[in-house]
Symmetry: C2
Subunit: 147 residues, 2 copies
């Protein structure tokens, strides 16, 4: 088992904005995929649709201001059954996200790609909360020939 790990720090202009950006359709479509639909409550499934494909995430846990946990229930074969774990905490002026995409079976080339792409989308989330404007698909930052 190998994991993708990331850490970003975000200055919220009002409390709870990071959590909101992870738990509402409006927030998620502002930094990850503009075409996002579905149910964001625990047990619901959120459908993210990108130019290159899509993911369906089942919401496993929501702890306001502290944690969001998703399980991938549809999407690329390598993603199905993996977990996307968002842990939030405060440090001075910052809301810190400790991000983990865990449960990859092998460190394949696609995992390298997804690791870099998650970082770019986390910077999009940071930008959305700090400036009001993120860079979700289809106007996301391209990192390689796969996207």
């Amino acid at each position: 088992m190998v994991d993708i790990l990331h850490r970003v720090g975000i200055k919220e202009t009002s409390p709870g904005e990071v959590y909101k950006a992870l738990t509402t359709i409006e927030g998620l479509s502002g930094w990850w995929a503009e075409n996002t639909t579905g149910e964001t409550a625990v047990g619901g499934v959120i459908e993210f649709r990108f130019v290159a494909g899509g993911f369906d995430m089942k919401v496993i846990e929501l702890k306001p201001g502290e944690r969001v946990l998703w399980e991938v229930v549809d999407g690329p074969a390598e993603w199905i059954g993996t977990l996307v774990d968002w842990q939030l905490k405060h440090d001075g002026d910052y809301t810190i996200i400790l991000f983990k995409h865990e449960g990859w079976k092998e460190p394949i080339e696609f995992m390298h790609h997804c690791s870099t792409k998650w970082a770019v989308f986390l910077m999009s989330l940071k930008s959305l909360v700090e400036t009001g404007k993120g860079d979700p698909d289809p106007r996301d930052t391209k990192i390689d020939n796969w996207n």
Copy 2:
């Protein structure tokens, strides 16, 4: 053992530019740390100095256009003894970098930070080669309260 993995694809304006950006002081100081000195041949040590600290990398292997391998010989305790592995290949118009920073003992919070920060610096390297301008320290993109 846990690794940081990334993948970027870069369009070179002339062949060999990515390899040059990884193996010359001029290249390295254009995307990672402006304050870079040392010996870039196999067996040499390159000293990268950032606002927040520094790393000394011993050059273990150089395979022109294919691979660059460094061992961290000085820097933060968690980095010492780890390997930074750059594998290059071509795919259509792109030079693909498969990046691995391997040998971390534990998936500590600092590793989460370094994973995201490597992605940002890889995008700086892509920008340097594609546009002539990277974002090395001290004008690097900040990701959190640590840098």
